[in-house]
């Protein structure tokens, strides 16, 4: 009996293989594949701070744009020219923000000013205002100050196109209402520019 088992198994396997090939052929329809490809890039939003007098990026004029030393003292009720002091170089600065985005954007700027008194850091943002040639920047209609932010063109935000630059300020103004505690103190003024895509109501979510 055992003699016959091996041929029977071989026979079954052969039949199975033939059936498999047959099925394979049955489903081998005529077909062809062609691939079409397209490159899609994601838009980006980016910016650079520039000096409007030289159009140079601030980080190429100053070693450290995180701490530009202003060379002249701020005086109450006076417009003080922004003069940066770095490596013994004094330069009048007109602050520009250039959009290097690939799409239209909205822009706003936050000013934060602090000083140290009796070992405690105090906020004096409300006393420091941005000005251009003897006028506060809000008076020209280009910027609107709201909730601590300067919005470019106010509540009716105006989109800035790719590559365009907007002028911010060339002076600091120390408010006449400023607290006498800041006299003789060193203050740190931080300007933070923010941009957001000017489409799909993105600003309503991002800046809400």
């Amino acid at each position: 009996m055992r003699k016959f088992r091996i041929p029977i198994i071989m026979y079954v396997i052969s039949i199975a293989m033939l059936l498999t090939l047959s099925i394979g052929q049955t489903y081998a329809y005529f077909s062809a594949i062609k691939t079409a490809s397209g490159s899609v890039g994601m838009a980006d939003v980016s910016m650079v701070w520039r000096d409007g007098n030289t159009m140079s990026p601030l980080d190429t004029i100053f070693d450290d744009v995180n701490s530009i030393v202003v060379s002249s003292n701020l005086k109450r009720s006076e417009y003080t020219q922004i003069q940066g002091l770095q490596n013994s170089t004094i330069q009048n600065i007109t602050l520009l923000i250039q959009s290097t985005s690939s799409i239209d954007v909205y822009c706003r700027v936050k000013l934060t000013a602090t000083y140290i008194s009796d070992g405690e850091t105090k906020d004096c943002s409300e006393y420091i205002l941005l000005a251009y040639n003897g006028s506060e920047i809000t008076s020209t209609g280009s910027w609107k100050l709201e909730d601590g932010y300067y919005y470019y063109k106010g509540t009716n935000l105006t989109a800035i196109s790719s590559g365009s630059a907007v002028r911010l300020a060339n002076q600091f103004y120390l408010s006449p209402n400023s607290d006498a505690d800041i006299f003789g103190k060193q203050i740190s003024i931080q300007l933070t520019a923010q941009m957001v895509q000017a489409s799909n109501n993105a600003e309503q979510f991002e800046w809400a």
């Binding site: 939003v45 005086k75 109450r76 009720s77 203050i187 933070t192």
Partner: protein, 191 residues
């Protein structure tokens, strides 16, 4: 049976967590608008009020700020010349000025503005203000680099009203005279 129930519960919790993660990931993607933010920081100093006090033209420095009366022992109803002046030493800004002269006897502070001769207007708040004249209350800034006399002389009266400094309550005692001067770019001396 209980083991199986715990197993089922754990599987259910894992499934719910995965679902929540998927929902949050979806929300995150939906609101991921394109933005950018760049900051710069300026380090600036705020100027101080730049005024100097003088006596007979001698600048009273922080090292030697004594005002000389010409004697260590003063007498009643005698006028002592002080000739103390103030100069606005700021070359581009005018300051409103006010001052207060006080005497400290046995730790008690007496305002003695009434006992001094000054071109400043003596206000009811205890300060003497730089005004258009000594009889006018209209404030007037002291222009840049301008010098003006603060106190010409001082006379301690023999008698005084209750609570005020007089010879009777300072006789034989040592006392200090202090002069407080404030300058401000605006008329509100919010100090």
């Amino acid at each position: 049976m209980k083991v199986k129930s715990n197993k089922m519960r754990n599987i259910l919790l894992v499934a719910i967590n995965l679902l929540l993660i998927c929902i949050f990931a979806f929300i995150g993607k939906t609101y991921s608008y394109l933005t950018d933010q760049q900051s710069i920081t300026f380090i600036a100093s705020v100027s101080n009020i730049n005024i100097v006090l003088k006596q007979d033209g001698r600048i009273l420095t922080s090292e030697d700020n004594n005002i000389y009366l010409g004697t260590n022992l003063i007498e009643a109803d005698h006028t002592y010349t002080l000739n103390v002046s103030l100069q606005n030493n700021e070359n581009s800004q005018g300051y409103y000025i006010r001052f207060k002269a006080v005497a400290v006897v046995n730790g008690i502070i007496y305002n003695i503005n009434e006992y001094i001769t000054t071109p400043f207007y003596k206000n009811s708040d205890g300060w003497a203000y730089n005004t258009e004249s000594s009889t006018s209350s209209t404030p007037l800034p002291l222009s840049s680099m301008q010098e003006k006399i603060l106190i010409q002389d001082i006379t301690i009266p023999n008698t005084a009203q209750s609570g005020e400094l007089s010879i009777s309550n300072m006789q034989g005692k040592n006392f200090q005279l202090y002069l407080y001067v404030q300058g401000s770019p605006s008329i509100d001396f919010d100090i």
